[in-house]
Amino acid sequence: MTRQICVDGNEAAALVAHRLSEVVAIYPITPASPMGELADAWSSAGRTNLWGSVPEVVEMQSEAGAAGALHGATQKGALATTFTASQGLLLMIPNMYKIAGELSPVVVHVAARSLATHALSIFGDHSDVMAARQTGWAMLCASSVQEAHDFALVAHAATLRSRVPFLHFFDGFRTSHEIDKISVLDDDDLTALIREDDVLAHRFRGLSPDRPVLRGTAQNPDVFFQAREAANLFHDAVPATVQEVMDELGARTGRHHRLVEYVGAPDAERVVVLMGSGVGAATEAVEALAGAGEKVGAIVVRLYRPFPTDAFLDALPDSVRSIAVLDRTKEPGAPAEPLCQDVTTTLARAASSGRVGSMPLVIGGRYGLSSKEFTPAMVKAVFDELSSTSPRSAFTVGIRDDVTGLSLDVDSSFTVPTRAVQAVFWGLGADGTVGANKASIKIIGEHTDQWAQGYFVYDSRKSGAVTTSHLRFGPEPIRSTYLIERADFVACHQWSFLTQPVDVLGTARQGATFLLNSPYRADEVWSHLPVEIQGQILDQDLDLWVIDAARVAREAGMANRINTVMQPCFFVLSGVLPRDEAVTAIKASIERNYGKRGRAIVEQNNAAVDAALEALERVEVPALAVGDTHRRPPVPPEAPDFVQRVTARMLAGEGDLLPVSALPVDGTFPTGTARWERRMIAAELPVWDPDICIDCGKCTISCPHTAIQMKVYEPSTVDGAPEGFLHKDFRSRDLPGHALTIQVAPDDCTGCGVCVDVCPAKSKEQANHKALNMAPADEIRADERPRYEFFRSIPYLDRDALPHDTIKGSQVLEPLFEFSGACAGCGETPYLHLLTQLFGDRMVVANATGCSSIYGGNLPTTPWSVNGDGRGPAWANSLFEDNAEFGLGLRLGNEVHRSEAERLVAELSERIGRDLADAILGAVQSGDGDVREQRARVAQLRERLDGATDRSGRRLFLLADELVRTSTWIVGGDGWAYDIGSGGLDHVLASGRDVNVLVLDTEVYSNTGGQASKSTARGAIAKFAAAGKDAPKKDLGATARHYGNVFVGQVAIGASEQQTIKTLLEADAWPGPSLVIAYSTCIAHGIDMSTSISHMKDAVRSGYWPLYRFHPGLEDAGHHPFQLDSRKPQIPLRAFTGTEARYGMLHRSDPERAEMLGALAQADVDERWRYYEQLAEVERSVPHAPGEVPEPAHDDTEQPDA
C-alpha cells in the first residue's frame, strides 16, 4: 500500500532528488534552502541514494559556484542536482547555457520566487524561471506538493532519457512551504522510471583520460551556427519523452499527468491558461462555474519548455472562443508576458496552418506577483473579462491599479463550496503555534483518512512577530491554494493581538468558533475585550471559548510555549477527532517531535495536554458590547502623511488593499518610520535607578534596538518634565554642571534584557539591584510613555561638547538607527546604531542582502532614521553578491560630483568670495568637527549662489553638498563578505578608494536560518555542516592586510566598546579603503540572547576573536601597522565554545568528532595568536607619492579588552 505522509513542497522534491543524485551542490536561498538543508542532513546521517551511495553534498560560495560544480559533476558523468530560486537562478544562467549546449542531463529544482527589481521579495512568482526560459533547459512546472514530488522524478528520469537538462519548478512558499498529504514514491517507483542504461550512458559520456575527448571548444563563424542547430532533435524529443515518463508514473501510481491538461466544461468557450500553484484556485473556480452551467475551462501547462504546442492544441476544446493567459511574472515593455506570447504564437501558427479553425481571442494578464493572493474570485473576474464586450488585451488581477487602470474588478463575495474544515490561528513567533499546527496536520493527515493542508504566513520582523496558520482538513483532496477566507474556527493564541491593529476575526464566518488564550476566566473576559472584537463576536454570532494557556503552560513548566495547551482545545472544539483519540494522537506526536530532546520535555508537554481541556471554558456571550477598550490605531495621529496613508495600512495588515498610486514608482521610501510602529512587544522593560548609575553608557551602546538612550543636558531643561522623569548629575570633567537621563522607549523596547546584563553598577546595599533592572512592562509602560516623549523633546548635546572616542562621548550623540525588528538581543545592530551616532548625518550605506537588509529595509518600516535637520543615512540595497561593487559605485558617484563641485568652486571663486572658496577647497575634513565647519561654509556658498541662473552657478548650487565629506559604508554579513561577495570585496579593497566596509560577522548565513559560511569556525555545527565544520575559519582580514594600504580592524563591541569606537573612527578617517570585521552574536549560535553582548567577552578572552587594528602608515620606517588590542588568551577555547549550542550539540551527537575538532580549533586559536604576535612586530609602510594622501591621526595606545 502506498505510504502517505504530510510534507511541504521542498521536502517532497528533496525526497526524490536526494535518492537520485550522486553530487548535490547547494547554496542557501529562500525559499529553496530547506531542500539543500534536508539533503545535507540526510547525507550527514548516512542516508543513501538509489544506488546505495551517500550523495556528496557540497556547499558552494554562491549559486554561480553551485552551477559550476553542477556543470563539472555532470561532465564527469555524475548524477547531479541543485536547488535554488530567484537571484540564485540568475547566477546559474551562464552555466545553464553551457550545460544545455552540451546536452548534459541534470536537474535543478527551483522554488520559484520574485526577482529583485524595485525591491527584493522572498515570495513566489515566476519571474526567476521565466528569466531562464531561453537557456535550452526543459522546464517542468508542478502546481501542488504531490506534483513537486512526482515531477521531481519525472524530471530526473526525463533528463537522463532525453539528455536535455531539466529545471523543475514549483511556486515559492505557496507550494514549497505548503504542507500537504501526499503519496510517497518508493524506491521501486524510482528504479522503474530511472533506466539503468540511461545512467550508464551518462557515466560513459563523462570525461575520462581512458577515452579522452575535448568539450567546450571555441568555434568560428564557419561552424558555430550549424553546431547550435545540431542538437535540435534532442529538444524536439523532450515532450514525448516527458509524456512517456508521466505515463509510466501513472501506470505505477494511478496519478496520471499530461504535458498540458484541460479541466472544465467540454464545450467551454472561455478558457484561462496558467501554470503553478494558481491552478488549484483556477480549478476550483472553473468547477464551480462550469457546475453552474457556464462554459468555462482551464488549461494547465505542466511542461513549459520546450513548449508543447501539439499537446496544447490537443488539450484546447474546439469550442473555445476566447482565452485569457495568466502569467505570474512581469516583462515590462513586452507585447505580452511570456506564457501569453507562447500561447498566442502557438495559436497563430495553428490558425495559419489550418490546424485550428479560427484564431480565438487571446488576452493576457498578470497575477500573483510576490505571492499576491490568487483566489477563485479572481479567476471568475478573468472569465467575466472574457465575457465583456471588449476584453482588455492586457490586464492585472489581484490588485487595484488606479494609475494605468489595468486591474480587473473582483467580486470578493464569490467563493467556492468546500467540505473542508477551515481553521485560522494567530500566534506569536516562537510561541509554538506554527509547530503545533504542523504537528496537527501530520496527526490528521497521516493517522486518519482525511486530507490535510497547512500554510503559514510569517512576519517580516524577527522579534515579536505575528504568525498566522491556515489549516484545512476534509474528506476530499484539498486544492485551495490561497489563504482561508471563511474560517470555521479562529484561534487567537496571544491576548495582546486583540488590541493590536490587526483584524484577528476578519476571516471568521458566521457562527464560527473563536478560541482565545485569555488571562481572564469565562465569566469576566467579556468586558476586557476591545469593543471592536465584541462587535465582531456579536455580529458574526461567534461561539467564544477561553483558556488561560499561559497559566497552564507555566504550571506544566513550559514557559511561554503554549502550543500543546492550545492544540487539544482545537481538536476538541473543531471536532476533527474525538477527544480521547485526539489526546492520544497529540501525545504520540509530542513523543515523535520531542522524544529526542528528553523525557522531561515530553512529560511537561503531556502534562500541558492533560491540563488544557480542564481549563477550557465556554463564554456565555452577552447581548451587548461593553467597556471602553479599543483596538489601537496602527500609528499615532502625529505620524507623517506617508506613514498615515501607506505605512499604517501595511501595519494593519491591509497592504493588499493599497492601490497602485499609493506606492512609490521607483522603490524609494522615507526613512525614520520604525519609530511610529510602537509595537509594545516587551514583556518586561528596564527601569533605571539614577542613584546607582555610573554614567558608563554601556547600556545604550549595547542596546540592539536603540530602545534605551542617553541624553546629557542643562539641568534647567527638566523644568516642566512629567512626573517621575528621572535624571542625575552627569559625571564628567569635560562637561560639569550637566544632567543625565537614561530613558527606555517603552513601546519600542523588545525586553531583550541586554542592557541589564551589561550594566556594571550594583547597589551597595543589595547586589542584585543594578542601575537597570527589568520590571513587568504592563506595570510601567503607561507611566513611561510621557517620560519618553519628554525625553525625545530634549535637544541632543552639541556634537563638540564631548570627544567622540569614548563610550560616553559616543552615546550622547543622536542615533539614526532605532527600533529595528531584529531578533531580540541581536549582536549586529549595536554596531549600526553606533555607526550612525558617529557618522549618521553624512553616511551613505550600501547594504548587502541578509539580516541587516531585512531588519534595515523590509517594509513596512525602517529603523534608519533622520535627525532634526532632516539629515541621516541614505541607504540602499542592491543584491547579495555585488554589495562591495555597489558601494564602490556610490563612492565613485560621490567622488565625481565632489570633483566637479570643487572645479566649479575654483571657477566661481571670485563670485563666491576667494576666502570662502579657498577655505572650502582647502578644508581638511578628517573629523566630525571639520565636517560641520565645511557644512557651514557650504551653507554660506549656497546663500551666495542662491538665485544663480547661469549654468555653472546653478550646477554648483545643486552640487554644493558634495563638498562636505561623505562617509561611504558598505555593510553586510559574512555570507556576503566571505563567500558570495568575496571577489567583489577583494576588488573594492584593492581599488584604494575611500570606502569603509563593515562586516557583521555572525559566522553563519543568519538570515536564511544559519547555514555555514567560510566564516564558520572549525567544530561548529550549522546547517550545511550538520556534522561539524571541518575547515578552519577564513582570516578575512589577512587578505585585506596584505594590500598594505587597507585599514583593517577586528572588533567585538561587548568585549571592548572603546576599541570598537576607535576602530570605526579610524576606519572613517583613513582616506583609503577600510575593513572592519565585527563579531556579532546571533540566535544561530545557541546562546542566551539576553547576554548576547557580554558573551563577546569570552570570545575575546579565549582568543577565539582577537581584537586588532591594522593601520597603514606612511612613515618611511619604524611603523608597526598591526596592533593587537586584546590580551593573550586567558581561558581555554572550550570555556567559550562550551557555552554555545552550535558547539555543544556536536558533543552530544558525535562526542569523538567534537573532541577531535575541538582540539584542532584550539590549535587554530593558538597558532593564530602566535602568528598575530609576530605580525605585531613587523614594520611596514605604504609606498606613496609625496602628498598623495594625508596621514590621519590615530591612537597607538593599546586597547585591552574589557
Partner: protein, 330 residues
C-alpha cells in the same frame, strides 16, 4: 603480607581502598587504570536527575528559540540524529565499566523526585551497577521545613529506593543532621546496606569584582578526615550496616585510621586527582607497611579496634574542640 580483604555492602573486596566519585571514575579507561592501581571498587560520579532535566530544558529552549518566526529562517540548527539527553551516556559508562572491570562498579544517584530516584535507580541496576550510592545532596534553605521533616523524607527515600532495586544500596550522608547518631541508626534500620560519611557540599564563593556568587570546588585536605573518623568511631558498634569513610583520605595512613575507627572501606578522590590514578597503589603499600610495622594480620583484625567503646579514651570522640584545646594546653 597482611590480609587486606574486606566486605562492603555485602560485596567482597580485595582491599579497603575504594575510588570515590571524581574525574577519575568518569571514564572507563581511567577506572581501569584505578583497578590496575589496586582499588577494590569504584564509585561513579552522580547521575543528577535535576541536571538531566535542566539540560533537556536548555536544549529544548535553544532549539525552539526564534523558530517559526520569520519566513526565511524557520529554525536555526540542523536536525541532529542524537541530542544525547537523559541518562543514556551515563548508563553506557556503567555498562562498559561493568563489562571491562573485575572490581565492583558502584553507581551514584541524586534524584529530584521520588519517582525519579526510583526510575533512575532501576536504570542503573539494569545497566549492571553492582551497588548504588544515594547522594543525598540537598541544602535545606526552607525555614518552614523542620529537621524532622528532612529526616523523615530522607528515611522514606532510602526505604523506597532500597526496596525498589535488588542491588545493595548505600546512603551518602551530610554531616549536618542535628542529631546525627540517632539519624544514622534510623537509616541503618532501613533496607539500605551501608552509610558513606560524609558528603562534601560545594560551597559558594564570591567574586569581589563582580559580586557574583561563584561555585567553588576545592580538593579535600587530610584534616577533613577527622569528621568521618569521629562519627564512624561513634557508629561502629551501634549500626550493623557497612560504613565507608570519605573526605580527606589521602594516603595509606589515613586508610588505616579509617579502618581503626570502624570503617569497612576508605574512599579517596582528591588524592587521586592530585597524584594521579596510580596513587592507590602507593596508598596500599603504605597501609601494608603500617600494618606490618604494627603487626596487624588482616583488615578485619584492624577494623573497629579504636571505635569509640574500644578506644583508650572514648570520651575523646565526644569532646568539642574547645575542651580538647583546653586539655591540650593543660
Amino acid at each position: 603480607m597482611p590480609d587486606l580483604s574486606t566486605t562492603y555492602l555485602g560485596l567482597a573486596l580485595r582491599s579497603p581502598i575504594v575510588a570515590s566519585p571524581g574525574p577519575a571514575t568518569r571514564t572507563v579507561d581511567s577506572m581501569a587504570a584505578l583497578e590496575d592501581a589496586g582499588v577494590a571498587a569504584v564509585v561513579l560520579p552522580s547521575l543528577f536527575e535535576e541536571q538531566i532535566e535542566a539540560d533537556e530544558q536548555a536544549l529544548h529552549d535553544t532549539l525552539e528559540a526564534g523558530t517559526d518566526m520569520f519566513a526565511e529562517a524557520l529554525d536555526y540548527f540542523p536536525s541532529m540524529g542524537d541530542y544525547d539527553t537523559g541518562p543514556d551516556r551515563y548508563l553506557a559508562v556503567v555498562e562498559q565499566a561493568r563489562a571491562r572491570l573485575g572490581i565492583p562498579v558502584i553507581a551514584s544517584l541524586n534524584g529530584a523526585s521520588m519517582g525519579g530516584w526510583i526510575r533512575y535507580a532501576r536504570l542503573l541496576q539494569d545497566a549492571g551497577a553492582d551497588a548504588l550510592e544515594l547522594n543525598l545532596y540537598e541544602v535545606h534553605v526552607d525555614p518552614q521545613r523542620t529537621a524532622a521533616d528532612v529526616e523523615d523524607s530522607d528515611i522514606a527515600l532510602m526505604e523506597a529506593v532500597a526496596t525498589a532495586v535488588d542491588i545493595p544500596v548505600a546512603a551518602k550522608l551530610s554531616p549536618y543532621y542535628s542529631a546525627f547518631a540517632s539519624f544514622a541508626v534510623r537509616a541503618s534500620q532501613t533496607p539500605i546496606s551501608g552509610l558513606v560519611l560524609f558528603n562534601r557540599f560545594y560551597q559558594p564563593d564570591l567574586d569581589l569584582d563582580t559580586l557574583d556568587v561563584v561555585p567553588s570546588v576545592e580538593l579535600s585536605s587530610p584534616w577533613e578526615l577527622r569528621l568521618p573518623l569521629r562519627w564512624i568511631a561513634v557508629l561502629r558498634g551501634q549500626v550493623a550496616c557497612s560504613l565507608a569513610a570519605t573526605s580527606g583520605v589521602h594516603d595509606g595512613l589515613d586508610v588505616a585510621k579509617a579502618l581503626l575507627v570502624g570503617a569497612d572501606v576508605a574512599m579517596t578522590t582528591s588524592a587521586v586527582l592530585h597524584h594521579g590514578v596510580a596513587h592507590p597503589a602507593s596508598m596500599e603499600r603504605e597501609l601494608v607497611a603500617w600494618m606490618e610495622d604494627h603487626e596487624y594480620v588482616s583488615v578485619s583484625q584492624l577494623r573497629g579496634s579504636v571505635r569509640r567503646e574500644a578506644a583508650v579514651d572514648p570520651e575523646a570522640f565526644e569532646r568539642t574542640d574547645y575542651r580538647k584545646t583546653l586539655s591540650s594546653w593543660r
